[in-house]
Symmetry: C2
Subunit: 149 residues, 2 copies
DNA sequence: ATACGTCCTGCGAGTCACTTGCAATAGTCG
DNA sequence: CGACTATTGCAAGTGACTCGCAGGACGTAT
């Protein structure tokens, strides 16, 4: 079903890195593809396909196909931050995992490593290896949890 | 009294309980509504609207509207177990939270209480109150994590 | 038992987030 | 430079809902 290649890949840090892998797999660096990649490299947070399409003025279809291709290569990952469209981000600089507030929609992105303790607790309790890089942790952020207002 | 919104409501344990609350809110127990509720009371796991519609032979529209109404009353909750349609379950007998394997699609439902430690770890690390009853924990189950097959 | 008000229902159409088919176009490699 | 074929744009399709509307059914009052 899903083929997740769990590699903290250091081979996707620059546009050239991605291009190299792309070509090794018989892919090309078309104009739309370059635009999508540049937009992703410029992004601080995961973007929806729609957002990318609008900002680089491309067909949505093309954006989706490019994201799909890039995800197959392991250069991009998509994450679900709650209801709403999926979001895409480069894998390049270290894996991120997300916590999102259901009340104020705040997205807290953290280095995967920072959730090691949480992951361990889940592993200990259920022998289950959690991955919050695909499905975020939903709940209430500190501000919205209101200790006892 | 209770200090959080997360009340393990004891007022929705039977069809009569739900009906009472329904009426208190100006609602009615129509035939389709009763069928949806009975189907949910008979279910062991969360069901998709589609699954309910098919099994009780109702219009999908009607099922969605009923689930929505029931969710407003607090009798039903929907949960996202990964890609695919949302699933609905009665809140009645204690809150459940879910872990789902991205490889074999296995769904592990646990009493909310059993994730207290995990929730605490997240609270300690990020001041964030996680809720896995709406967005499940995705990852790999013990069988699929394969220590070294 | 009946009339009444209005909550619900079925049916049809619409929306959102993609996904797929196809002919035309454009990267790459030789 | 030219062929080979990965990609693109456009259009249509799909899955999961969501909405509008007119008629029908539930519950309350009579």
């Amino acid at each position: 079903m899903t083929r997740t290649a769990r590699t903290p890949d250091l081979q996707f840090r620059t546009l050239e890195d991605v291009t190299a892998v792309l070509r090794r797999h018989g892919g090309r660096l078309s104009m739309p593809r370059r635009l999508v990649l540049e937009r992703l490299f410029a992004a601080e947070a995961p973007l929806s396909a729609e957002a990318i399409a609008v900002s680089v003025r491309l067909e949505l279809t093309s954006v989706y196909r490019n994201l799909e291709r890039l995800e197959q290569l392991g250069a991009v990952r998509h994450v679900h931050l709650g209801h709403g469209p999926g979001r895409y981000a480069l894998v390049g600089r270290g894996a991120r995992e997300y916590l999102v507030c259901e009340s104020c929609d705040r997205v807290i992105a953290v280095e995967r490593q920072r959730l090691a303790g949480v992951r361990a607790a889940i592993r200990d309790g259920f022998g289950f290896e959690a991955d919050f890089g695909h499905f975020a942790i939903l709940g209430l952020c500190a501000d919205c949890a209101v200790p006892d207002a």
